[in-house]
Amino acid sequence: MSLRKSTLFFLFIALNTVLFAFMFVDASHRRASALPSFAEKRRFVKDLRLTDLCLFTDTRYTRHPSMADQFSPFQDHPFALEHFPSGSLLTPPPHLRLERRP
């Protein structure tokens, strides 16, 4: 006996919905099992007094964006333009966009 097309459609959507729900279950399980690794990373940050994630290593203002100053992307020579690929992915940190000096 062949199934009706509407039955096949609902089975397909149901399967995808179950997988979609499982995605949240899997995410929650992974978060729980990542707790020791988070504790280790936090220990490193505290012990080594680290300030940034190691997302990019090609240039210092994307390696340590929170420590960068306004001029660092343009320091290579007078009239230098920012030219590192990672510079096109990261925006300047919010504290550099604000006038913070008294």
Binding site: S6, N16, M23, R63, L89, R101
Partner: protein
């Protein structure tokens, strides 16, 4: 039951109708899935990075004080710590030694950090997993670094940092203070910057302001500012992000526009025949509703599931070339999934609903015209 049976009959007919145009529908579903996949991958990746940063960097120094000379970050005299320590509310001030080293052999940049209590004697180092991967060096190997005066110093790798900490230490070399100073020729009275411990976190901004007044050549950076940096990391307004997102959104707008502006002659003829056979306008609209739902819901669910697998099972392989850039050492982006249901809901409402509505609107126009006129075109 009659209502359910009616819906099922209409869905049966809709699926058959879609299969008659299977080439077009397959291409449409594939591109639609791809758009959802790209958008969802970006959302999953950026929110995972942001949440991970907010959890990990919670224990970052409360205030970091940098010295700026001619617009550049410069070494800070340790004597600055004396006056800063006198500010009310400051618990402790200490110098932090860290810097960068470019290795011409591997073409890689390393971040050298001096821990407060380095457990190994001078001449030994500890390296991050990314550096281990790129150089192939491992425990007890000799790792030579060129000092400021050109002399090669052979360091011995005493330990390697586990890959689980890659996101913060991939390119890191831990080194003793003595070795760091001799490697870079930094005199004893200087540090890279100062870190402060503060008694009351509410006083951070006041203390930062006072430091700026005592030493106008310094720049205090508070922990809140560090955390805010990562709250806005991969901001949708930034560079490549807006290119990727606007490309995907524009592609989707073209889809919806194509659907909303009219039906093909074949589709109009189909509606005319159905009306001629006695279908009500509401039945035609119902059929178009199920058509839109079948395409958009399937594409949405498949796109989201593929994006989840891409970001959290394959460590964002497709983003790798863009993320690597010119970096020789890069972390393994094995992120912990932090999925914001609100963002998923937003993506649903921005993709499924407009497409379904765009499918129904032109059909309503065709379904309200006389069947004879529609069939004649």
């Amino acid at each position: 039951m009659i209502w359910v049976e009616k819906q099922r009959n209409i869905i049966d007919f809709t699926i058959s109708s879609l299969f008659r145009r299977k080439g077009k529908i397959a291409a449409l579903t594939a591109v639609y899935t791809l758009i959802v996949f790209i958008l969802a991958s970006v959302i999953f990746f950026t929110s995972a990075i942001r949440r991970e940063a907010s959890l990990i960097l919670r224990d970052a120094p409360e205030i970091v004080v940098q010295r700026l000379v001619a617009g550049r970050h410069d070494l800070i005299p340790l004597s600055y710590a004396e006056r800063i320590r006198e500010i009310r509310g400051v618990q402790a001030v200490s110098g932090r030694l860290w810097g960068y080293y470019y290795d011409p052999v591997y073409g890689a940049n390393y971040t050298l950090v001096v821990p407060v209590d380095f457990p190994h004697p001078p001449g030994n180092i500890v390296i991050g997993d990314g550096l281990k991967r790129s150089s192939g060096a491992t425990r007890d190997d000799i790792f030579p670094l060129r000092s400021h005066d050109g002399a090669m110093i052979p360091f011995i790798i005493k330990e390697t940092i586990s890959a689980a900490s890659d996101l913060i230490t991939a390119d890191t070399i831990l080194i003793s203070e003595e070795d760091f100073r001799s490697l870079f020729g930094i005199a004893g009275g200087y540090a890279t910057d100062l870190t402060l411990k503060v008694r009351n976190p509410k006083e951070l901004s006041t203390i930062a302001r006072k430091i700026g007044m005592i030493y106008p050549d310094t720049r205090p950076i508070s922990r809140d500012e560090i955390l805010r940096t990562y709250e806005s990391v991969f901001d949708w307004r930034g560079g490549m992000m807006i290119v990727v997102l606007s490309g995907s959104v524009l592609a989707f707008v073209i889809f919806a526009w194509d659907k909303a502006t009219g039906l093909s002659a074949e589709e109009k003829k189909e509606i005319g025949i159905l009306k001629g056979l006695g279908w009500e306008t509401s039945d035609v609209l119902l059929m178009k509703f199920w058509e839109g739902t079948a395409v958009s819901l399937s594409s949405f669910l498949m796109g989201i599931l593929l994006a989840y697998c891409h970001v959290f099972f394959t460590a964002s392989t497709l983003f790798e070339p863009a993320l690597k850039g010119w970096s020789v050492i890069y972390p393994d982006f094995r992120l912990t999934p932090f999925i914001d249901p609100l963002q998923v809901a937003n993506l649903f409402f921005l993709t499924v609903i407009p497409y379904t509505v765009a499918t129904i609107a032109p059909s309503w126009r065709a379904a309200t015209i006389d069947p004879d006129a529609v069939m004649r075109g």
